[in-house]
Symmetry: C2
Subunit: 212 residues, 2 copies
DNA sequence: TCAGACATCCCCCATATGGGCTATGCCGTG
DNA sequence: CACGGCATAGCCCATATGGGGGATGTCTGA
């Protein structure tokens, strides 16, 4: 019952692609059929090869992992994506699963764990590295920021004052202050500087366009 | 004149080690003789194997790449270290070279570039990926933060107020304010929040102990 | 239809922040 | 020795920030 599982590998680091491919290709039932180093290429190669599984790095030069997953699912609802990342914050894992990933795998995983997760994901079952579940649980507790609040955080990170943020977002300074108050409560931050730190460290802004 | 170059590979990501090793071992004159996944193990393995070259990931779970280089050079002044990193901010490259690395290599580098850099580094010549020099140049222009200023930044990032920072560092609040003024000027930051953003994005605090 | 989340706006006010200025002592380099 | 960078510290002051309150409108889901 195990026909070969055909895999599309997406990572912008050459050595990671080689490492993954050589690890996977040792297994008789796993085969890397294509490799992409950015999101656009990944989507194009999916159309061409229709792989059974996509192994997707979360950080890519053009799109975020979440964007790639959403684009794939829009066109191929059955697409199975296993997110691979070096960056194991709760937020990223949460976003990956929200976006529709079937699992999340750390780059530090050894071969057995890696192969195991790939086989599970190929069957559409949830696949996680060891300590991920605990991190997820803690994330669920914390309320997430609204889209507008994320916009405010993005401005905050650029070092803009409340007045400047108000102008840029076309709202009053009072509104900006209230947003920031809410953001500080949600993130349990001590002040706006702490908000910026938490946002950057947790990768809250990962899925925003770099120039936006 | 090319005896085999014996290499110690240091990276906490399994797939990266596999990818590097399989790329390097294809070359007859390059041989990976040992692999470490953290800084302590790297130093121990250096003592044991005395490799001709160390390929070192900048981000490790225990020590920073800079700490490893300094520790190696203290014991083996002739040690040659090529820094490998996914994280190409000017600051990190600058710090790596300051610490005594012979070169800096991006993880996205393809095989020819990778092999070329390794061969150069093995001969003790400067080895860089393509766009590194330009980034370095821009870094040289900017003044670097003093150790004390970095301590202040580390406190800032935790969301501490000037008063709290003063208490924690055992100095007066006035001094903290003056430090922050200087930091803002050096980093061309608009306010303390911007300082935190820049510090995190540029990796200014990379070589500080996580708990410290 | 009513509750709840979201986004918007207004008021007041204590405190924090950031800029300007001067000044000391230490240390390393020229 | 003198100079400059660093760290320390004080003063004054305008403005920004953060916390409290109350208010409106939309939209979604129970």
């Amino acid at each position: 019952m195990n026909p070969t599982c055909r895999i599309l590998l997406v990572d912008d680091h050459y050595v990671v692609r080689i490492g993954m491919a050589s690890s996977l290709n040792l297994e008789p039932d796993l085969e890397v059929v294509a490799e992409a180093e950015n999101g656009e290429a990944a989507i194009a190669l999916y159309r061409e090869h229709r792989p059974d599984l996509v192994i997707l790095d979360w950080r890519l030069p053009d799109l975020s992992g979440g964007d790639v997953i959403k684009a794939l699912h829009a066109e191929f609802p059955a697409a199975r994506v296993l997110v691979l990342s070096a960056f194991e914050s709760e937020e990223v894992i949460y976003q990956a699963l929200q976006a529709g990933a079937v699992g999340y795998l750390a780059k530090s995983s050894r071969r057995p764990e890696l192969i195991g997760a790939v086989r599970l994901a190929a069957q559409g079952k949830a696949a996680f590295s060891a300590d991920i579940a605990a991190k997820l649980a803690s994330r669920i507790q914390r309320p997430s920021l609204s889209p507008r609040e994320l916009e405010v955080v993005a401005e905050l990170v650029k070092g803009n004052s409340n007045k400047e943020i108000a102008t840029r977002l076309n709202i009053s300074e009072n509104t900006v202050k209230l947003h920031i108050t809410h953001i500080m409560q949600k993130l349990r931050a001590k002040d706006r500087t702490h908000v910026a730190s938490i946002a950057l460290q947790q990768g809250l802004l990962e899925n925003r366009a770099p120039g936006g």
